[in-house]
């Protein structure tokens, strides 16, 4: 239930981000909202750097950057699946 409340707060934060309108302010707000949403922030700077990069692309090319992001995400998930497959293969081997 506690996590549901945090998810509602995340939704509220996203509404705030959209309502702000300005990209830079939205970026700062978004990083803060997601950091607040997380309990364990290991590796969060890596993610924050990725979001900053995405914001820069968005500022340069407009909302069409979402299509590029979708393609990049597809590749990312495919890579993740590949890593998971390799891990399962390695773990499944007998000693």
């Amino acid at each position: 239930m506690a996590f549901d409340r945090r998810f509602l707060l995340l939704c509220a934060g996203e509404v705030l981000v959209v309502a702000v309108g300005d990209l830079v302010v939205a970026l700062i707000l978004q990083v803060i909202v997601l950091a607040a949403f997380l309990g364990d922030r290991r590796g969060y700077p890596v993610y924050a750097a990725g979001v900053v990069l995405f914001a820069a692309v968005l500022a340069a090319s407009g909302t069409i950057a979402l299509l590029g992001l979708a393609a990049a995400l597809g590749v990312g998930y495919a890579l993740l699946t590949l890593y998971d497959y390799r891990l399962a293969r390695w773990a499944g081997e007998r000693a």
């Binding site: 998810f7 996203e14 959209v18 978004q30 590796g43 979001v51 979402l66 979708a70 998971d84």
Partner: protein, 413 residues
């Protein structure tokens, strides 16, 4: 592959909603929010994958099985301790997987806490544990990862080696079949490989599918009190050291199995016309194994015992003279002489065995013998005493050693 949690589904839905807002309103802030949420899920997936790798590489399993001699169908206790490095924010449980031939599901272990569970191996042969499943989850993903690296200890399961009488293979003699033991609903003692001629109805399809070859169920037989395990010690000249060592091992295993699967068992050790040891009903495995300590082939006090007992004498005395004439007269006279002896004769061995059986209160006798070819008369007396008490007699003897009249089931030792 990873399984998303409800939170992940919610964030994905939120990202889609924000994408719709972006398309409708052409709002760059909404596009940023949608894209960053999608990136967020990808990042969490990558982090979960790294945590899973840490878990898999740090996994260490210590497993012990309490029994060194495992017999098909008997239970064994497994003690397992799992250690692994748990990254923060990840919940981990490890399921210890029993061997593929076990009829159990294994146990869930908390890292660092020893856990005990019971397995029952249903097929004979060499086998090993199937490994472990790491059940990991964080707030966004969960995953069950199968690790097969820790399969020790390797187990050797000895077959039951049952051969039911009445079917075939025990000679031309008609042997009583205990049909109550094969009634539907009776328990299953174990499984063995399917032989041509076995009842197709007894095939266990689940085990057969798992092992890739046909296995049949073996019924438990009559349930009741603990069995009376009778050991017929061979004479010194009748068995070599290796045969007797194997014989002793099978007996110890039977006693162990009897105590674990029933409410205790009784042990009676005999040799030619002599009761060597008797341990009435016990549930203490150590006490039972102590009773079997130091058993060795003996030099019996009556090497030429050959006394089938009063019952057989009486039966012979009742034989009618089939033919008339001289032979018929002879048989009649022999019958009257035998009858006179049978009335007077008392077998101390039969009396002692009978008292032991009364004390054991068993419904089943498991007779272990190497079956000497020259004299099994004391076993005939023993079987007769058992039949008088309506006990079921299972003889376990080497293949081709023959049988004893009155035995219900012959199993290969």
């Amino acid at each position: 592959m990873f399984r998303p949690t409800r939170t992940t589904g919610g964030i994905a839905a939120l990202a889609l909603a924000l994408t719709a807002v972006t398309i409708l309103l052409d709002n760059p802030a909404a596009a940023l929010a949608a894209g960053s949420l999608a990136l967020f899920l990808l990042w969490r997936g990558w982090r979960f994958n790294r945590d899973l790798r840490v878990l898999a590489t740090s996994l260490a399993v210590e497993r012990e099985v309490d029994r060194t001699i495992l017999r098909q169908g008997t239970a064994a206790t497994v003690r397992v301790r799992v250690d692994l490095t748990v990254p923060p924010g990840v919940d981990v449980r490890v399921r210890d997987l029993p061997p593929a031939v076990a009829a159990d599901e294994g146990a869930l272990c908390e890292p660092g806490i020893p856990t005990a569970y019971t397995i029952r191996l249903m097929a004979a042969g060499e086998t090993a544990f199937a490994g472990n499943i790491i059940e990991a989850s964080d707030a966004f993903f969960s995953r069950d990862l199968l690790c097969r690296r820790f399969d020790a200890p390797h187990l050797q399961v000895f077959p039951v080696g049952t051969k039911y009488a009445g079917g075939k293979g025990v000679g031309t003699r008609e042997v009583e079949v205990d049909r109550r033991a094969t009634l539907a609903g009776s328990g299953v003692r174990g499984f063995r490989l399917y032989n041509i001629g076995d009842d197709p109805g007894s095939i266990d399809w689940k085990i057969s599918a798992r092992r890739g070859t046909l296995y049949v169920r073996e019924p438990t037989g009559l349930e009741g009190g603990g069995p009376l395990i009778v050991v017929d010690l061979p004479r010194r000249n009748d068995s070599d050291r290796e045969t007797f060592a194997r014989f002793s091992m099978v007996i110890c295993d039977a006693v162990e199995g009897g105590i674990e699967s029933h409410e205790g068992c009784s042990i009676l050790v005999v040799t030619s016309g002599e009761v060597v040891r008797f341990l009435p009903r016990t549930e203490d495995l150590r006490k039972a194994l102590q009773a079997l300590e130091g058993l060795a082939p003996v030099e019996p006090r009556a090497p030429l015992y050959r006394a089938p007992g009063p019952a057989v004498l009486a039966a012979r005395a009742r034989l009618p003279g089939r033919e008339g004439g001289q032979e018929g007269g002879y048989l009649a006279k022999l019958g009257s002489v035998l009858g006179a002896f049978a009335d007077e004769s008392i077998s101390p061995f039969a009396v002692a065995v009978g008292k032991a059986m009364d004390q054991a209160e068993a419904s089943e006798i498991r007779l272990y013998s190497l079956l000497r070819k020259d004299d099994a008369s004391h076993l005939v007396q023993l079987t007769h005493e058992a039949k008088v008490r309506r006990m079921r007699v299972i003889l376990r003897a080497p293949a081709g050693a023959g049988t004893i009249p009155g035995v219900d089931t012959v199993e290969v030792l």
